[in-house]
């Protein structure tokens, strides 16, 4: 085998347009992290490691034929449920919430696994019953979604619970849940809002209230919103220039390498930078939609659509939170925020998208 053949085989299952978008976002991540970490290489270097690990996993998944992927749905889902129940019973408490499970060697956060596990399971379920879909099947699928969501909401991790609900809802929507049922659900959700409110933990209510009046807790959580909004707004059209963000470098911005990294970017690169960043996200999301449209089976269509829409949701929720139109929920900016777990989860999803795209191409030819 020549070098060239080897190379071709290596990239055979990579989707190059998607990879380009992902790569540019990762590059942005490293550039912004360098600034956010006060012009030091600490965070960028360990982010490179995160990226390397995640890319490797993505390549492996992309090379996995689809029927293998489908076969993992049930085991992953069951494992995730077991871990979630484990967390509820024996989990470690941190920041007042029970989210982590200590396995002796390492602590894991099973809700991360479910970000992939839930849509995968639902898509698998719909594929299995494709020929004879009735309302009952949608009901079962909704149950598959609600069980883990309830466990995660109880931890309490409202942000993750809502995001997983969203990714599950996308599957239901794409699977063809009737408009009438959706309308009914919407009405039911609005009606039950007061009940839900009473079930929320104090800090969660606090966070939602803060959205309307961040000055209420100007030293604590509201401080995040106030300072982030100032950072974005003061960035202006062209930004203050790389490494020149005063909000960032005068220590006004909290959590600026993780959840609030967009404020750093926005302050230093301005509206123009934001447009470019949105453009990069459009590239990734758009390619995801193309892959979804091309997908040949029911399972792959649902899976690809859910992955793409979920990615878009993460990006929207994070930027909305930083720019002060959504409450502060702990959602990182996808592919840009510092952190290994979210990078890995995202790239596992992209690996699936690539597998979906490239394996059916081979079938066609």
């Amino acid at each position: 085998m020549t070098k060239r053949q080897l190379w071709l085989r290596f990239i055979a299952h990579l989707d190059l347009p998607l990879l380009l978008g992902i790569g540019l976002l990762m590059l942005t991540s490293l550039v912004v992290l360098y600034s956010a970490d006060n012009a030091s290489w600490g965070r960028p270097l360990s982010q490179m490691l995160n990226i390397a690990v995640a890319l490797t996993c993505m390549w492996l998944i992309a090379n996995l034929p689809l029927h293998y992927l489908m076969r993992t749905a049930v085991p992953i889902y069951l494992l995730g449920m077991m871990l979630l129940i484990g967390v509820a019973l024996f989990g470690e408490i941190s920041h007042g919430a029970r989210r982590w499970l200590n396995l002796g060697v390492t602590t894991i956060q099973p809700s991360e696994l479910m970000k992939i596990g839930v849509p995968l399971m639902m898509a698998w379920y719909f594929e299995k019953h494709e020929a004879t879909l009735t309302l009952k099947n949608y009901f079962v699928a909704a149950l598959l979604l609600l069980m883990p969501v309830a466990l995660i909401a109880r931890q309490p991790d409202l942000g993750t619970a809502l995001l997983i609900s969203a990714s599950g809802f996308y599957v239901l929507f794409l699977a063809g849940l009737s408009w009438r049922v959706m309308g009914g659900l919407l009405v039911a959700a609005l009606a039950s809002a007061p009940v839900l409110w009473s079930m929320l933990h104090d800090y969660q209510r606090h966070r939602i209230l803060m959205l309307f009046d961040p000055s209420q807790d100007a030293l604590g959580k509201g401080y995040h919103t106030i300072q982030a909004t100032i950072a974005v707004g003061s960035g202006g059209i062209l930004g203050k220039g790389y490494l020149n963000g005063t909000q960032t470098h005068l220590d006004f911005l909290p959590e600026r390498t993780t959840d609030f990294i967009f404020a750093v970017y926005s302050e230093e690169f301005g509206l123009l930078g934001n447009l470019i960043l949105l453009g990069l996200y459009v590239l990734v999301i758009g390619r995801g939609f193309v892959i979804t449209a091309n997908a040949s089976t029911y399972f792959t269509r649902l899976m690809a659509g859910s992955i793409t829409l979920t990615f878009a949701t993460y990006a929207f929720v994070n930027m909305g939170m930083v720019s002060g139109i959504l409450p502060v929920v702990g959602v990182p900016l996808p592919l840009v925020s510092y952190g290994g777990t979210s990078m890995l989860t995202l790239l596992l999803g992209f690996g699936m998208l690539m597998s979906i795209e490239t394996h059916q191409k081979l079938v066609k030819t």
Partner: protein, 633 residues
């Protein structure tokens, strides 16, 4: 195949799917549009407003650190307080040449090499735009001298700060503990507990002792000021202010005078003393000798002082009263006697004949009494008064280790007392099961023999023994010991009494208690092991001496203190309560390598009791350590 039949259907499904996909695309575009509008609003429309906030007139939220709560003794004497003083601080980011600046400064104000070392340490850990202390406790004259020259030193300023001070210094170091600069571990801990907001601006946090265990009471609530600052970071105008509220004041049950007298009574001995009011569990004195100067730690201890403290053979950083674990020696005998009565193993009037040693049936190994020729005929009362070892070798063997452990644990042996200080150790109450788990060995009868006189595997902390003594003194009714008596709120001026609802009655028969307490009272009478120390006291004092071996003796070898290295000499114990019939105080004295309990530990106890019961302040203590003393244990 089936596919062919459903082909039309399939195409329709694809159509419906693509329709939904198109709706999804529309949804995403809507989200993007919302973001775009928001960005344009913030960055183009309202840019000037935010620009103003961020740049020229930055609104800064300045936390106002609350004053830390005071710590007072039961009579209102101050054990920890704050005083205001001036520090000289440098903002490295605003200073061009640090080294040169510091050199120039040192011409004006004395800057010692220690100050420089500490500054360099802070410099390595600093966050951006933080001001770092180079000198603390400036005199008024130094402040004036610098103020006149300030224009020469951009980025250097004088700040008024509150300093923590511990008037009793080393004497209360193990009790009060100290505060220190907040480090990375503390930050993580605070974030974990969602307290980070309340510590914005705080530089210090309780690290050990009461400063640590009552951190949440002492710290107070941080206030804040919204100020307009110019681009140089100077405050121009105050917009709003939420005042901080000071930390709460702790009023301890400790009597500082008593603590001081106890501390002095130790002379050059290392050791520990814990005194408790048996009627309510209030700790009256809590001494661990030697102490250390807590103020060294507040702004980060320099390496040299740290090495001195850490490598000292006296281990001054070790809280002996709370964490030191020692064999209880003969102080365990009163409790052992109660166990014997409880299990009905020995009736009080049964006498044994003591030949000066004990051996287990079928073994020639001799367990020796401290008195070579034995005590002759010994009943339970006498066994406590003269501390007869042979009596307890036999009693322990008859009861068996598991019975012993189960009874002693009721007095709190082998368990933490629950004192309101962190880091308490639990001692060791051995059992067959414990030995199997720990050493994978079965329990030998010989192990039980040693436990009978408080040697062997069992270990106690002075705190534990004090709790057990107080419980015995109070006729088997125990109170959870505590150091803080009252928390005075700075905000509402209401006082929260730490009450003792946790009384626990061990249900010991009155007749048993009476016998053991009478015997302990006789210990301090002529003929008892602590007669000398108690001679002439106008009150009745009950006690028990003890000696804990540091190194084992071979068969037939005689203990000779003068031949042993000082640090291998026995530890001296004394437990006591007084007045014997109506106890107001129970205490434990441990003098490390002190030799005999009666001659070393008991006189220390006497001084403390004299002060507490009579108000008598002792004369300087004569040096007893080298005097040959007749009596033993």
């Amino acid at each position: 195949m089936a596919k062919h039949v459903e082909l039309k259907n399939h195409l329709r499904e694809i159509f419906y799917f693509r329709l939904r996909l198109a709706i999804s695309v529309g949804f995403v575009l809507l989200l993007l549009a919302i973001l775009l509008v928001r960005f344009i609003y913030l960055q183009a429309v309202r840019h000037d407003y935010y620009q103003t906030l961020a740049e020229s007139n930055r609104i800064s939220i300045v936390p106002i650190v609350p004053n830390r709560g005071l710590i007072l003794d039961r009579n209102g004497l101050v054990l920890a307080h704050n005083y205001s003083g001036y520090t000289l601080e440098i903002t490295p980011n605003k200073t061009a040449n640090l080294e040169a600046t510091i050199n120039e400064l040192s011409a004006l104000i004395e800057i010692t090499p220690k100050d420089r070392k500490r500054f360099n340490k802070l410099l390595a850990e600093r966050r951006n735009f933080e001001t770092l202390m180079i000198r603390n406790r400036l005199s008024d004259e130094e402040v004036a001298r610098f103020a006149a020259q300030q224009y020469r030193f951009p980025g250097v300023e004088i700040k008024a700060r509150l300093f923590r001070d511990y008037p009793y210094g080393a004497k209360t170091a193990h009790l009060i503990g100290y505060i220190g600069r907040i480090n990375q571990t503390d930050v993580e801990q605070l974030e974990e507990n969602d307290l980070a907001a309340n510590y914005r601006g705080s530089d210090y946090i309780g690290k050990t002792g009461l400063e640590q265990s009552y951190e949440s009471e002492l710290h107070g609530a941080t206030g804040m000021e919204q100020v307009e600052v110019d681009s140089g970071g100077r405050a121009v105008r105050m917009l709003s202010r939420t005042p901080p509220s000071s930390g709460n004041t702790l009023v301890l049950s400790i009597d500082a005078k008593l603590q001081e007298i106890a501390e002095q009574a130790f002379g050059n001995y290392r050791g520990a003393l814990v005194a408790i009011d048996p009627n309510n569990g209030e700790v009256l004195a809590f001494v661990s000798k030697p102490g250390y100067d807590p103020s060294l730690f507040i702004d980060g201890i320099d390496t040299q002082s740290w090495d001195e403290l850490n490598n000292s053979p006296d281990h001054p950083l070790n809280n002996r009263a709370l964490r030191g674990q020692y064999p209880p020696g003969s102080t365990v005998k009163p409790f052992m006697a109660l166990a014997g009565l409880y299990y009905n193993t020995r009736s009080p009037d049964r006498t044994i004949s003591d030949p000066g040693y004990f051996n287990l049936p079928g073994s020639s190994h001799q367990y020796r009494d401290w008195k070579k020729d034995g005590h002759g005929s010994v009943d339970m009362f006498k066994s406590i008064v003269i501390s007869c070892d042979t009596y307890y070798y036999g009693l322990a063997t008859e009861m068996g280790i598991d019975n012993i452990s189960s009874f002693l644990s009721r007095f709190g042996f082998g368990k933490k007392t629950g004192l309101d200080l962190e880091g308490e150790t639990s001692g060791l109450l051995p059992s067959q099961e414990w030995k199997m788990k720990r050493y994978q060995q079965k329990w030998y009868p010989g192990d039980t023999v040693s436990v009978g006189i408080g040697q062997g595997y069992n270990l106690v902390t002075p705190m534990q023994l004090a709790y057990a003594t107080a419980t015995l003194a109070n006729n088997g009714v125990g109170y959870k010991p505590h150091l803080v008596r009252e928390v005075r709120s700075s905000r509402s001026h209401e006082n929260r009494l730490i009450e003792n609802k946790s009384a626990f009655d061990l249900q010991i028969a009155a007749a048993h208690l009476d016998l053991v307490k009478r015997a302990m009272a006789a210990v301090t009478q002529p003929g008892g092991t602590a007669a000398q120390a108690a001679a002439g006291a106008p009150y009745r004092m009950a006690g028990k001496t003890g000696t804990a071996q540091v190194v084992g003796m071979k068969q037939g070898e005689k203990y000779d203190a003068s031949k042993l290295d000082e640090r291998h000499r026995d530890h001296a114990w004394f437990i006591a309560f007084a007045p014997a019939d109506q106890p107001r105080i129970a205490l434990v004295v441990l003098a490390e390598n002190g030799g005999h309990g009666g001659s070393t530990a008991a006189p220390i106890a006497r001084k403390v009791l004299d002060y507490y019961l009579l108000g008598k302040v002792p004369q300087p203590l004569p040096d007893l350590s080298d005097k040959e003393v007749e009596e033993h244990d």
